[in-house]
């Protein structure tokens, strides 16, 4: 049987918002032909146990991601700017901030 593999539909990434005002989190992926069925498939696969109040689905191809080569230029500079953190600043003892 030399035919090429049959189609399993395009890949979508699923983001789920848990209850209580928490941020959306990446839950995994599903296969679907369009947004409506991606949403339904995501609901069936990732929200069976009351973990979601909202779902986002995005075609995997639409996601732009940083690469490992970016790690240095993108993220290291953020690690040595102490003036962005509250502990850098001294205030008199006993004063409520």
């Amino acid at each position: 049987m030399a035919a090429r593999p049959d189609n399993q539909w395009p890949l979508w990434e699923v983001f789920v918002q848990p209850p209580g005002g928490a941020p959306f989190e990446h839950a995994g992926s599903v296969h679907a032909v369009d947004a409506e069925s991606a949403l339904q498939n995501a609901r069936d696969a990732y929200a069976r146990r009351g973990e979601a109040v909202s779902i986002w689905v995005v075609p995997s191809a639409a996601i732009t991601a940083s690469t490992p080569e970016d790690v240095g230029p993108f993220f290291d500079p953020g690690n040595d700017k102490p003036y962005r953190h509250p502990q850098f600043y001294s205030v008199p003892r006993g004063v409520r901030m």
Binding site: Q8, W9, S29, V30, H31, D34, S37, P68
Partner: protein, 317 residues
């Protein structure tokens, strides 16, 4: 632009040694990628094929509660297959290709699912032993070095616990029931115990992939260690419901605090792995049939989407 491979490999191994998580876009040795694709896809295939022995009893489940419980369990297994296939796809392989490997017989899946479910008690035995063994294995894999695999395992471990409890509850109920039910339960234990122990695979020294998987932080514990953990947990559970594990050599070693088992018939394991188990052909035939019968459905969805995507574009123009 191309990294010096041996330096990259050393750096990779240092990351593994430091307990770092490897993510899809990170550089990884070709061997690591290949091993993970193999291991993850086989795991996913196992979940899918695993729906068949249990699915065999959904229409005959003896109460509405058991019917819903079993259906929910099998649904979870489909979901687990989904999570793991999606995790595998992060390594740059399409699910269609993976499924093709399963259906053509190129890929393996857990040998346990080549055994038949002959009675309702088999459903209890599978939940108790097979899911029980899977939990031991998956708890370890939740710390695997590859991020998407570890995260899929964490999600699965949360869901798997109900599977094992459901199976054990079924066995406990049967063991406390009519003589015919006790007999059914004991018979299922007799048939499923040894194949469940084989799920952990041969001793690592006899297991071809173990060394690499351990070096790369995918396997964190050896097969024998995991198997021992499962045995220790299960012996007490069997005693609690007065069912006998079919092992004349089973004995407690006070010095090691381990229950020592008798010899495993690795010839049976090899036979089943190589296609001579009771239901290898039937399992693959069932999956092939579902796939072939479903081709027109998958094509319909794609056809519809293509037509309506074209409309959306022309509306916008």
């Amino acid at each position: 632009m191309m990294p010096d491979t041996s330096a990259a490999e050393r750096e990779f191994e240092a990351r593994i040694a430091a307990g770092e998580t490897i993510e899809p876009k990170d550089w990884m040795p070709d061997g690591y990628r290949k091993q993970l694709i193999r291991m993850m896809s086989q795991h996913a295939h196992s979940e899918i094929v695993g729906m068949l022995p249990e699915g065999n009893w959904i229409t005959r489940a003896p109460t509405l509660r058991r019917k819903m419980g079993l259906l929910a369990k099998v649904q979870d297994e489909a979901g687990h297959g989904l999570y793991i296939y999606c995790g595998t796809e992060t390594l740059g392989v399409d699910r269609a290709e993976l499924i093709d490997q399963l259906l053509s017989g190129k890929a393996k899946y857990s040998s346990i699912f080549n055994y038949p479910t002959l009675t309702w008690a088999d459903i209890g035995a599978i939940g108790w032993f097979v899911d029980g063994a899977a939990i031991v294995n998956q708890t370890m894999l939740a710390k695997a070095s590859y991020g998407p695999y570890a995260r899929a395992m964490i999600r699965i471990c949360k869901e798997e616990n109900f599977h094992k409890r459901q199976g054990y509850e079924i066995m406990a109920t049967l063991a406390a029931g009519r003589p015919e039910q006790r007999r059914m339960a004991q018979d299922a234990v007799n048939r499923w115990w040894w194949p469940s122990l084989m799920m952990f695979g041969p001793s690592d020294k006899d297991s071809p992939n173990s060394a690499e998987l351990t070096k790369w932080g995918v396997k964190r514990k050896g097969n024998d260690e995991l198997r021992q953990r499962f045995v220790n947990l299960t012996v007490a559970q069997a005693q609690a419901i007065d069912l006998t594990l079919p092992d004349r050599d089973l004995k407690y070693n006070a010095a090691t605090d381990n229950w020592e088992i008798g010899p495993i018939d690795w010839d049976e394991f090899k036979r089943v792995i190589h296609g001579e188990g009771p239901l290898n052909r039937e399992r693959l035939a069932a999956r092939n049939r579902a796939h072939a019968d479903g081709a027109w459905v998958r094509a319909a969805a794609s056809g519809y989407a293509a037509k309506h995507a074209a409309e959306a574009t022309s509306d916008a123009a």
